[in-house]
Symmetry: C2
Subunit: 330 residues, 2 copies
DNA sequence: TTGTATGCGTTATCAC
DNA sequence: GTGATAACGCATACAA
C-alpha cells in the first residue's frame, strides 16, 4: 500500500503538498496539482484515513442504534438520517442492539473511544442518568423513543396527542367500550399512548376500565391473542385501539375468525401506518408519523451538536396524522 | 479527555506500562497494575482508539452491506454474523446500500481507507471484475447472493436445487401447469431458481411454457398482480411457485378474492419461510434456509481471510429445506 | 506557492 | 518488570 510519502517522492514534491491536493486546498499551483494527481493515479494511492482521523480527532462516522432491524418502521427514518448525513460528509452505520443493554454499551464504547463522532438512539435501555452522563461528553440524539429527564436532545411525535386523537375518533363514531392493546415494554411511547387513551375517555365522560387494557409484544400474534381475550368476554369492546399496526392486524384476524364484521361489529385502529396496513381487508385506520422528516431532523440536531451549536438539549415534536380507513368507518 | 500520558504521570509510571496494563500484558507487577488501574479510574480515562488503530493498522470493525434493511430475511443472518464477530472481538456495523452502486462504493471506500477491517456483502451491484479487484487487496465475503466468477469467497444455499425440489413437490402432487412468479432483478438466485424450475419440468417430461413465468419485485403487490394475470387466462395454472413468501402471500390473496380454494383449485409455494408464512390461511409451503448458520459461516470465512488462512476463494453451500404446509397439500 | 518540522495517542522494540 | 523512544500516516503551523 502506497503512503502519502510514496506519492510525494514520485511527484517530486513534499508530503505537505500532497496533503493539500488531497484536501482540495486552494493554494496549490495547477501544474503541481496535476503532477500529484498523476502520481496518485500511478501508485493507485488510497489515503489511509487512520492517520487523518488521529490527526483531526474525528472519523466522520455516525452510529444509529436500532433495537432491532426487523422492524420496518425504522426504514424511512434511517433514509432521512442517511440523506442528511451523507450530504454533510458523514457515513452512517447501523447497529442492532437487540434491546440488550450490554450490546448498547459495546457500541457506545465506540463513541467513548472516538471511533465514531456521534450516535442516534432509536431506543435505549440506559437510564436517564447514564444517558445524561454520556451526553455530557459525546454527541448524541434520541429519536422517537426517549427518556424523560435525560439531558439529551430528542425528536419525536407527541404520542399522547396521537393516542388521544385515535380514541377520540372512535368515541365520535359512537364507541363507548374501547379496548386497548398496549405494550409490555417500558418505552415512553407506551406510557404516553396509554395516558392519551385515558384522557380521551375522561374528556368524553367515559369511566376508565382497567380490564380494557391488555398488553402485547407489538407483533401479529400478540394482537391476535389479545383480541381473542376481548372476544371471549360477555361485554366485549366494540372497538380496539392497538399500539402497533401488526397487533391491529393480528386483532383483525381474530375478529374475522370469530365471524364478526369490521368495523360494524368491532372497529380497529392501529399505529405506525406500515405498508401492510393498506393490504389487509378492510384497510386499517392508523396513525402515521413523518418518519423521513424525523430522520432528517435527528441528523440535523446531531450535526448542530457536533458543531457545538446546541447549548441546551432540544426537545422537538413533529406532527402526526390520523389516517381514517375502512377498519373504523365505511 | 485524559490521555495515556496523563494516566502514566498520575500513576508514576511510563506510558509503556500503562499500555501494558491496558492490553493485559502479563509482565506487569501486581502492585504496579493496581496503581495504574487506580489512576485510570481517577481520571475516568478512556483510551483513544484512533491512536491504537493507526499503530496496529486495524480497527476491529466489520461492515455488512445490506441492499435494504426492510427485508426481514436478513435479521437472522446478521445475528449469526454478530455472534461470531463479537466473540472474536469485532464490532459489526450494518449499512443500507439501497442497491445503489454509488452508495456501495462510498462504503467500500471505508475498506480501502482502512477504516474497517473487512466487509460482508448480502448483495452487490458491482461487476465480478470490480469485486475481484477489491477482493485481491481487502478482506470480503459474499453472502447468499454472489457473482459467479468473481474471485471472492461466498456462502449460499443451492438455489437451483431448492427451486427444483419445490417444483418437483408440485409435480408429485399431480400439477402439470405450474406458474412461476420470478424476479426482475439480476441476482444469481433469480437465475438459478428459474433454471431449477425448468429442469424439474424437463425431468418430468413437461414442456416448458414461457408464458408461465411472470416477473415481480419480491413484494406483496407484485405477487398479487402476477397471480391476477394467471387467473385471467383460459388455461390457468393449477399451481404457483413464487420466488418470495411475500409474493406468494400476495398471490394467495388474489386467488382467494377470485373465490378459489387453496390448495384444491390452486396450490402455492413460496420461498424464504418468513414468519408471516405461518400466519396466513392456509399456511404457506416454502423453502427455508439456515440463516443464522449462514451468518456464522460468513463471518468465519471473513475471519480466516483476515488471518490470511484462505489461499483460494471458498465456495460454500449449505442445506435448504422444503417445508410442506397446507397451501400445497391438505 | 511550497517545504520543514511537529504532533495527534497509541503500541512495540529495545535497552536496562 | 519497567522506561525511553521510534514508529504508524496524516494535517497543519510556521518558515521560506
Amino acid at each position: 500500500m502506497a503512503t502519502i510519502q510514496d506519492v510525494a517522492k514520485r511527484a517530486g514534491v513534499s508530503v505537505a503538498t500532497v496533503s493539500r491536493v488531497l484536501n482540495h486546498s486552494l493554494s496549490v499551483r495547477e501544474d503541481t496539482r496535476k503532477k500529484v494527481q498523476v502520481a496518485i493515479k500511478d501508485l493507485n494511492y488510497q489515503p489511509n484515513l487512520l492517520g487523518r482521523n488521529l490527526r483531526r480527532s474525528e472519523t466522520k462516522m455516525i452510529l444509529v442504534l436500532l433495537p432491532t432491524i426487523s422492524n420496518t418502521f425504522y426504514v424511512k427514518i434511517v433514509k432521512g438520517i442517511e440523506e442528511v448525513g451523507l450530504r454533510n460528509g458523514y457515513n452512517i452505520m447501523l447497529c442492532d442492539t437487540d434491546s440488550d443493554k450490554q450490546r448498547e454499551e459495546v457500541y457506545l464504547d465506540l463513541l467513548k473511544n472516538k471511533l465514531i463522532d456521534g450516535a442516534i438512539f432509536m431506543a435505549t435501555e440506559l437510564s436517564k442518568e447514564e444517558l445524561s452522563e454520556i451526553g455530557r461528553y459525546f454527541p448524541m440524539i434520541q429519536c422517537c423513543e426517549y427518556k424523560e429527564g435525560a439531558e439529551v436532545s430528542y425528536i419525536s411525535i407527541d404520542n399522547f396527542a396521537a393516542a388521544y386523537k385515535a380514541v377520540q375518533h372512535l368515541i365520535e363514531l359512537g364507541h363507548q367500550r374501547i379496548g386497548m392493546i398496549s405494550g409490555t415494554n417500558h418505552c415512553i411511547s407506551t406510557f404516553q399512548r396509554e395516558a392519551g387513551y385515558k384522557k380521551a375517555l375522561e374528556d368524553a365522560g367515559i369511566a376508565f376500565d382497567d380490564a380494557l387494557i391488555l398488553k402485547g409484544e407489538y407483533g401479529f400474534k400478540s394482537g391476535f391473542r389479545a383480541a381473542k381475550q376481548f372476544l371471549h368476554r360477555d361485554k366485549r369492546p366494540t372497538a380496539i385501539f392497538a399500539m402497533s399496526d401488526m397487533m391491529a392486524i393480528g386483532a383483525m384476524k381474530a375478529i374475522k375468525e370469530r365471524g364478526l364484521q369490521i368495523p360494524d361489529d368491532m372497529a380497529v385502529v392501529g399505529f405506525d401506518n406500515i405498508r401492510f396496513s393498506t393490504m389487509v381487508e378492510p384497510q386499517l385506520t392508523t396513525i402515521s408519523q413523518p418518519q423521513y422528516d424525523i430522520g432528517c431532523i435527528a441528523m440535523d440536531l446531531l450535526l448542530k451538536q457536533m458543531k457545538g451549536e446546541l447549548k441546551e438539549p432540544q426537545h422537538i415534536f413533529v406532527e402526526h396524522e390520523l389516517i381514517i380507513r375502512k377498519s373504523t368507518f365505511k
